[in-house]
Amino acid sequence: MQQPLIKVRGLSKRFGAGCELCLSSTGPDRESNVCPHCGSVVACNDVSFDLYRNEALGIVGESGSGKSTLVRLLHFEWEAGGGTVELHRTAIVPALDEIFTDGADYSANLLGLSPFQKRQVRNALMGIVYQNPFLGLRMQVSSGGNIAERLLGAGWRNIGAMRKRSAELLERTEIPVERMDEPPMNFSGGMQQRVQIAKALSNNPLILFLDEVTTGLDLSVQARVLDLIRSIRSEFNLSLLVVSHDLGVINLLCQRTMVMKYGRVVEAGLTDQILQDPQHRYTQLLVASQL
């Protein structure tokens, strides 16, 4: 059987001072993620999962359930409070052999790497698309420049080659190539989202994080963006981590799904199973209200 590309175990993040009672007094059973004793927010606690190659894993839950926190932790934007993230040996990070000990199938805990190493891992393997294009794009810089930034980070130093690559990606994401030197500021929301996708794909990532990518777009644009994501997944052999509160999006994109509430995973399994036979009370409510 195929081994997972990344193994995540016990991933946790707490905002605030924290106390001994935080974990026992928050969570879905307590209907809160704010610790009543010290006021800390348990954004994400003990999340474990595997992500396989060319697989789309959905994370669904209401706002404040820790979905986006999870993505930020995996993308090394925030420092995790605990847990491990291990990478399979087949995911090659140039110039970073030292994270794999001889003979081991999995790397050392990525969360323990230096900021410099984390950035190398991120540049080599990861792409991210945010709900808000302002987070993922430099709005004043040309669209081609936005894509080139990742290439420059990976050591590209040829303007012609970078422009060629940007043009290819923009074409792939259905942005007219003649608008390549325009800043994303001039574009519509759907186009901005597609520039973000082009930027995320520029370094040929293995893992693509999608954080509420279609939220806020109108339905016809949503459909085109989802279509695009589906086709690039098979074309680029990507592993997707899809965060959404919209079960429709999850249903369309993901084979497996995790349901989160108050920072905990309450249910996980095949998407069809979860949608047709939800076990947890919250999932039942979610499915009943949306489908």
């Binding site: 420049g145 930034e149 420059l152 980070g153 303007i159």
Partner: protein
Amino acid sequence: MQMREWLDHNDARPGEDDDRATGYPFGFMDEGAKREVRRSILKAVAIPGYQVPYGSREMPIARGWGTGGIQITLSLVLPEDVLKVIDQGCDGSVNAVNIKKFVQAVADVEITTDTRSATVIQTRHRIPEEPMTAEQILVLQVPYPEALREVEPSEAETRRMHAEADYSRMWLFLYEDIVKYGEISISYRFPVTVNGRYIMDPSPIPRWDVPKLHMADTLFLFGAGREKRIYAIPPHTRVEPLEFEDHLFRVEDFSGKVCARCGASDTFMDEIIDNEAGERLYYCSDSGYCDKRYGQCNNH
């Protein structure tokens, strides 16, 4: 009141018949301060291109007028040194003359305008045309030591970027420049990579002077008094301007231009417009070099 008089006037002991300022330690700064500056210089030399923070002292001129350079010069000079000070290539500008007089008053050094005979040269925004030797030190005054400031206003963030060699935003800035204008539009303060590691601001020298920093025989010291940073390029260090494979760095083009005074055609030139004649004239920016050539021509 002349500085000489002021120094005498404020001296606790009545001034002896001595050319040096009395009541002040040699070189104006106290020994502890000089030692700190020297320590910072040593660290800067050990890590080429890295900006070493130091406790910039008050000087008798305003911050931003060359206090960083002056502190380096004062902490280095010995009475037997020969000092040259230039301001944008010119030995005779007010700023250069004031600094020269000050250092002479407090450290009793000899003053020259000849690049070859100087042992220490303090400069604002130029590197002399004549090649310098391993026996000489060039001290550059720096207004903005942070090369990344253009793309990132936060000091904490630029320090992180340097620490992690995260320079993609600087490169992006240059990429955008090329997309907009067809070439990099930075005319002075052209960012360079030092020893393959740090991106460094070479101070506002023109592009013309940037290649002189590469694998030079001379030690280059950079002092930013207002920003409290010292950095250095030791001799024989790689200094590469940021460039792309298909858009190479190039210096200013003065082809066809000749200095109206000394006839040089291989120097960095200032354009002067003669209002009466309506002519465009070019003069060497390095006045010491121009004087030397002019003198040679007139002796024949």
